[in-house]
Symmetry: C2
Subunit: 431 residues, 2 copies
């Protein structure tokens, strides 16, 4: 843990800088994978699965029997837990879409936007050590609410060729039937360009390792859109002397266990709280199964004492954290000053894991300072807003002369003429 | 003009394919420009301006005198026209932002999203042959409505070192004072990374040539976001026998005059309308100043006769046009079936140039089929929606056990523990 006492303001920007992510290294490897999938489709997927997943699959398609069979393999208690999370996420995400009423901008000119779902979306769910079924809730629920017609899931198989039952169960209760056993950059390429088995989609969501991330970056150049650029997960906690050091330590460690590259920051105006939190961390780490990972992430973490809580907010706005916990007595007042963050947790009981699983907010959020210009995933991530305008005869008379003048000033005569022919026609109709 | 009579449905996808955009050629050139700006800042801008704009500038800053002086150089008639457009765009874009009320997802858990403007945005306005002051209206008005704190404009100077007065006038009436005389990839790099003179921004908007487009693609890898991926402008017109061929021809040509790579498509169920439109185009082209450009674009255009208007809509949804004009007698009914488009123009008086300038909708739209997953620019492009959650003691009791179970199933014990310490605390408080 790096403890920094009252750093001068001109040092803040340097403290807000994340470790550089090496980007170009993987470029060639991932380009080759993408190209192989583009040119040989399923064959490339089979080959890469044999190489990376150590399994020779005869089909990538998860059968309806496999999905149905998962139901018996999840405990009733966990099913109830997933149900609580699902309902809260549904409630929050269902409230996000409103059709806007048409606006008459000038008599005879009506303009509006219509929400239309992205027809085909792909969700990537990593396999590996932990089955991230919570990510299915976070991506498939808004996709369903938006009304996406085709929802495809790709997830890598284990060495026996199976997908974790928790992933299948969660997809199953949400009615998703197109699930494919393929992972890594090849899965992203399959969804971006389509193969004999896997349908092409228009937008790809979901977390992944560096190969997945690079593939998502590259396929954008062909017009397939993605949820968010990726970076290591982060939490920034602002706490004052009223905070319980045990809670703060638990929140910081819960971020640190994600990976050795996790970013963990504590800002406080209380030296006492800072010291107590450090001691508490040592204590809690001992009991943690993933303590090696967490310890390494904590070695790079920042524990910063600042002059005031206002300074903490100012620092946090410069940092633009993915997760921001405000555990102070006046959290309401402070929360109004937040400009840059992904998701904010207010008060002593709002731990980050609440938002990771079950409060109802989405856990797919901008990392790496991207919160300065990106929002997290929401139902809106699964729709487009198409503009419409209906201009009547009266309408074109009201705006036509202005369009003619502006088009002429931009040297676009045919733009002008599209109005002129209509105004002339109306003139003739009247006479 | 390629006239295609009743193509079988299995040929539609091929007809919907845009000409491939060569992407990698410029890579090295633009990477070098970006790197020069990153490392030498203003010096690189001065050098490139001398090389590309043929002018050695002592400063890039547009002075307040230059902005004020532009007022006298714009005619009163054009000022009134700009005023009409401005008011309509303001009206439509002001209606787009609504604060959402908090949602209680479960007793004790409140979740909401807060609209927060992107603090710093950069608008690129091309110079070249035509002064695209309408693009300033389309980008700066929603930026102002969103409440962006810093709005920066970069635009290339002419050979005398000046910026077109129409651009300065339009920026001036919108209260934008940070205008810089620099263009091309170097301007994008300057806004992305900052120089001694030009402030760094978090999101960059605006059209441009292939260098600008490539630079916008590359800076995204450093987390600076952009409005939309770029492609040549497009219009698709659906017309039936009720349509006036003179209007249709004018609309198709107005798109074609944008550039030789413009995409122009007519779909109709009436052979008569198709033939009459072709004749009308020949007629109108003769009077057009930019007829060489328009003719070349029209050579690549598609005029397709289909079986029915429903087929036309189905084809259009596959094509996903930037601009879609529906000039038929039952346009209301057809418009409900639109799934993929940027902006839609309904009825015989709704020409595309209405939306380009003054109806109130935005003219920065997804091209190249990107409408399948992207929306056009709106006020929402200038904000982020930050999630908030406030969990009370009662709230964490309601969702805590579910979080503990789910975190454990994902093998994230510290995530579980952040809840456990709180539930234990509440248990002790009660006792």
């Amino acid at each position: 843990m790096k403890t920094i006492i009252l750093p001068p303001e001109d040092k803040w920007d340097a403290l807000c800088t994340r470790p550089a992510i090496l980007k170009s290294e993987l470029d060639d490897v991932v380009r080759k994978i993408i190209n192989d999938v583009k040119t040989t489709g399923d064959k490339a997927l089979i080959d890469y699965s044999e190489r990376f997943d150590k399994i020779k699959l005869s089909t990538f398609i998860v059968s309806q029997e496999e999905i149905a069979g998962s139901v018996q393999r999840v405990s009733e208690k966990l099913k109830s837990a997933i149900d609580i999370a699902r309902k809260n996420i549904e409630k929050f995400h269902a409230a996000q879409l409103k059709q806007e009423p048409p606006i008459q901008t000038i008599p005879g000119v009506m303009c509006w936007r219509k929400n239309v779902p992205v027809e085909k979306v792909g969700l990537y769910i990593p396999g590996g050590s932990a089955p991230l079924f919570s990510t299915i809730l976070m991506l498939a629920i808004p996709a369903k609410i938006a009304g996406c017609r085709d929802i495809v899931i790709c997830t890598p198989p284990d060495k026996a060729g199976n997908v974790n039952p928790l992933i299948l169960y969660t997809a199953g209760i949400l009615g998703i039937t197109k699930i494919y056993k393929t992972g890594g950059a090849q899965a992203i390429a399959a969804m971006a360009y389509g193969t004999q088995t896997i349908p092409k989609v228009f937008k790809i969501f979901g977390p992944g390792n560096q190969y997945v991330t690079k593939a998502k970056e590259l396929i954008q150049q062909d017009g397939i859109s993605i949820d968010l650029p990726a970076g290591p997960s982060e939490v920034l906690v602002i706490a004052d002397k009223s905070a319980n050091p045990e809670f703060i330590a638990a929140d910081l460690i819960s971020q640190a266990e994600h990976g050795t590259d996790s970013q963990v920051v504590l800002l406080t105006d209380s030296k006492e709280l800072l010291e107590k939190t450090c001691s508490e961390i040592e204590l809690q780490l001992k009991a943690l199964p993933r303590k090696e990972i967490a310890s390494e992430a904590l070695d790079n973490s920042l524990f910063i004492l600042l002059d005031s809580l206002d300074d903490c907010i100012e620092f946090s706005n410069r940092y633009a954290p993915e997760h921001l916990i405000i555990n102070t007595s006046d959290f309401q007042l402070l929360s109004e000053k937040i400009i840059n963050a992904g998701s904010v947790f207010l008060g002593k009981y709002s731990c980050e894991s609440a938002g990771d699983y079950a409060s109802g907010t989405n856990h797919t959020l901008p990392t790496n300072g991207f919160a300065r210009s990106y929002s997290g995933v929401s139902t809106e991530s699964f729709i487009r807003k198409i503009s419409f305008q209906e201009v009547s005869g009266k309408g074109i008379k009201n705006i036509g002369p202005a369009i003619e003048l502006m088009a002429e000033a931009e040297l676009l005569r045919a733009h002008k003429n599209a109005v002129t022919v209509r105004l002339k026609y109306l003139e003739n109709v009247r006479n």
